[in-house]
Symmetry: none
Subunit: 224 residues, 2 copies
């Protein structure tokens, strides 16, 4: 993690900016900074730290939960302009669970420290309301993931995952190992490999080292 | 579902009561009623209906999600005094998923209709804030359930521990404090207490000072 100089357009990044008093705006400006993270770096680790409210400036973040045995399940991803509120969970008393957040690629985040964020929530009900609305939005994201995990058959889920990956990159190739795909999908490597082999036999994908190339997008989307 | 005559102590049931104006209090009183449900009756079915904000007056409710194939997963239960906000999800724009709510036993709920609740949220930021705090609390409940379901360890482990303890003593009571159980299991007291509370709600154990009494051994062993 590396700090970058702050050159921040607050009103673009903080939706509650116009509801702040001049004093609160000043306080916010003095306590906001930009942090840089490298791909794979941990940003937030459950109850152990509590950086504050974040906005993604560039790159992408992944929020996940972790079992005692180290199994992880992706809850949602955050991209440019998205707000990460669970990294300030220590100041949100209605949040009683732990999540983890990693940088999924080299990323910059705008951070408003948790102590100042807490102070603003205390002094300005608009900020408090904003925080819990954001948390509720995360709730909706998590419910979506939960339904994918619990209810969808695995071929559908994998097809959906691959189609969303290529939508993001605009190409036809997903550059992830089976292990990584399994981790993102909350599954096991063997399950992913087996299903990909089936997709190969169906003429949907081609596999090479570390790459999954979609060769029949139409058939892939029919599965979704 | 059957209506009962309204005789409601608003300030006890609606946490935002003291933040309402006289007009808003009047509006709330005129649009609150008590509904009675029989055990097993459906109260809320996803996006199809949207009764409003509910408070459990007696009995208990179960919130769950349902797959296309009819598989259901319990998200949480609500008991006397608990607030059900997801039954007003149509007026909470940050909630984009569907849940179902049933009466788990004969129950009475106090209902503030969704149209009036929406009107109050619009006119009074304290009510809006209250709604999203409640939604965030549901989020925490769901995350707890999710971790049980996905990582499936602690409920099994605790059930195993208790069943082995009663096997040792030959009775049906484990005379250990939650602190002691936690120590034996390499866990934390709060984790043990929370899971035991869940076991109580499932009718598996009864708790008294320093004692854990197994009241449904069959159900306990099914967990193992």
């Amino acid at each position: 993690m590396q700090r970058a100089e702050a050159n921040i357009s607050y009103r673009d990044y903080f939706p509650f900016w116009n509801k702040l008093t001049d004093n609160e705006k000043d306080l916010t400006e003095r306590n906001t900074r930009i942090l840089k993270y490298l791909k794979g770096e941990s940003i937030h680790s459950g109850g152990h730290d509590c950086l504050g409210m974040m906005v993604v400036k560039s790159g992408s973040l992944r929020a996940y939960i972790l079992s005692d045995e180290g199994r992880d399940i992706t809850l949602y991803r955050l991209f440019k302009g998205d707000i990460c509120i669970l990294s300030a969970s220590c100041v949100l008393k209605y949040i009683t669970f732990d999540v983890f957040v990693d940088a999924e690629e080299d990323s910059e985040v705008i951070l408003l420290s948790s102590s100042i964020f807490s102070q603003l929530m205390e002094s300005n009900i608009n900020v408090e309301c904003f925080a819990y609305k954001q948390a509720t939005q995360s709730f909706s994201n998590v419910m979506w993931a939960l339904q994918q995990i619990l209810f969808m058959s695995f071929d559908k889920r994998l097809a959906l995952f691959l189609s969303e990956e290529i939508k993001k990159t605009g190409g036809d190739t997903v550059s992830l190992t089976h292990e990584q795909v399994a981790r993102y999908m909350g599954s096991a490597r063997e399950v992913v490999s087996r299903m990909l082999k089936y997709f190969v036999s169906e003429g949907i994908v081609e596999l090479s080292r570390g790459d999954i190339k979609i060769i029949n997008k139409k058939k892939l989307l029919e599965l979704v």
